[in-house]
C-alpha cells in the first residue's frame, strides 16, 4: 500500500544525508587547502635558498662579434661564479656568416650556426676561479672573449 508520509520521510533523510556528505567534503577541502598552504609556507624558504637555479646567458653573434643580448659591447667579459650552472644560448644574427661558441679549456664546442639559427648548451663553471677564452672557431681572431670564474661568495 502506498504510504505517502513514509515516502516523504525517506526523501527528507536523503536530503539530510546529502547535506551531511557536503559538509564533510567542505571540511576535508578546507583541511587539504590548509595542509597545502602549510607545506608551501614551510618549503618556500628551502626552495629560495637552494642554489640549483640555472643562470641563463644569451649571446648574439652579429658583425663578427659576440654580444650579450641587448648590449652593445663586442666580445664582453662574462663573469661566472665558481660551480655555477649556466645555460648559454647562442643566436646567430650575422647574415651570410656561420658562427659557433667554443671554450677549449672546457672541451666545449657547439655546432656551427647558420643565420638566425640558435643552440643551447648547459655547462657548470669550474669549481676554482680562473679565466678561460671563448671563441667562434672559424673567426677566432675577431670573435674572442674571456669567461671569468670568480669565487662563489
Amino acid at each position: 500500500m502506498f504510504d505517502g508520509r513514509a515516502e516523504g520521510r525517506d526523501m527528507v533523510e536523503h536530503e539530510r544525508a546529502g547535506l551531511g556528505h557536503g559538509a564533510g567534503g567542505a571540511v576535508a577541502a578546507v583541511l587539504v587547502a590548509a595542509i597545502g598552504l602549510l607545506c608551501v609556507v614551510l618549503l618556500l624558504p628551502l626552495t629560495a635558498s637552494t642554489s640549483t637555479a640555472v643562470r641563463e646567458i644569451a649571446l648574439v653573434t652579429r658583425d663578427m662579434a659576440f654580444y650579450l643580448e641587448g648590449e652593445s659591447e663586442p666580445n664582453p667579459t662574462i663573469q661566472l661564479r665558481a660551480g655555477e650552472e649556466v645555460r648559454f644560448t647562442v643566436l646567430n644574427r650575422d647574415p651570410g656568416l656561420t658562427h659557433n661558441l667554443a671554450v677549449e679549456a672546457w672541451g666545449l664546442e657547439t655546432r656551427y650556426l647558420e643565420n638566425e639559427a640558435s643552440t643551447t648548451v648547459l655547462v657548470r663553471a669550474p669549481a676554482r676561479p680562473g679565466r678561460q677564452v671563448y671563441v667562434c672557431v672559424p673567426h677566432d681572431k675577431m670573435m674572442r672573449g674571456i669567461i671569468e670564474v670568480v669565487d662563489d661568495d
Binding site: 652579429r62 658583425d63 663578427m64 662579434a65 652593445s72 663586442p74 644574427r93 647574415p95 651570410g96 656568416l97 643565420n115 681572431k141 675577431m142
Partner: protein
C-alpha cells in the same frame, strides 16, 4: 648620382671599389656611405664595416583601374627602376666586385679579407672589410 660620404671615414678599399661601381649604374640616383658602429681593431685584426644606402631612380607608369569598381580611370604609379636583386646582378658582371657573400631582397653583403704584413714584420694582421648595401629607408642590420 648624388654621393654623400660625410659620415664615412674613407676606410675600406673595397668600399671605394663599390662606390665607383655604383656610380656607373645609371639607375642609382643617390648613394650615402657611412661607417658602421661595429668597426673595430685589435693587435691581430682590423675590422672595417661600412654601410651603403642607395636610392634608385623612379619612373611613372600608367595603371588602369576602376573607381568604386565601376568607373574606369587611369592612375599614375611611381616605381623604382631597379630592385636590390637587379643591382646584385648588375654588380656581379663587374669583375672587381663579383657576387655578394649574402643577398636578400633588402640587402647585399660583401666580405673581403686579406692578411697585411707591414715591412719588417713577420706576422702582420688580418684585414676584414664588411660592406652592406641597403636601399635607403631600410633598417641596417
Amino acid at each position: 648620382m648624388e654621393l654623400d660620404t660625410t659620415n664615412w671615414s674613407g676606410e675600406g678599399t673595397f668600399t671605394q671599389t663599390l662606390i665607383d661601381a655604383l656610380d656607373a649604374v645609371e639607375q642609382v640616383s643617390l648613394l650615402r656611405v657611412e661607417d658602421a658602429s661595429s668597426s673595430r681593431s685589435d693587435v691581430e685584426f682590423n675590422f672595417i664595416s661600412n654601410e651603403l644606402f642607395l636610392r634608385f631612380g623612379t619612373r611613372d607608369r600608367q595603371v588602369r583601374a576602376k573607381m568604386l569598381g565601376i568607373v574606369p580611370v587611369t592612375r599614375t604609379v611611381t616605381e623604382p627602376v631597379m630592385t636590390v636583386n637587379d643591382l646584385e646582378r648588375a654588380l656581379c658582371e663587374i669583375d672587381e666586385v663579383g657576387p655578394p657573400d649574402y643577398a636578400d631582397a633588402e640587402m647585399l653583403q660583401y666580405l673581403r679579407t686579406e692578411r697585411i704584413v707591414p715591412p719588417y714584420q713577420t706576422r702582420g694582421y688580418k684585414l676584414v672589410e664588411l660592406v652592406r648595401i641597403y636601399e635607403a629607408g631600410s633598417e641596417s642590420r
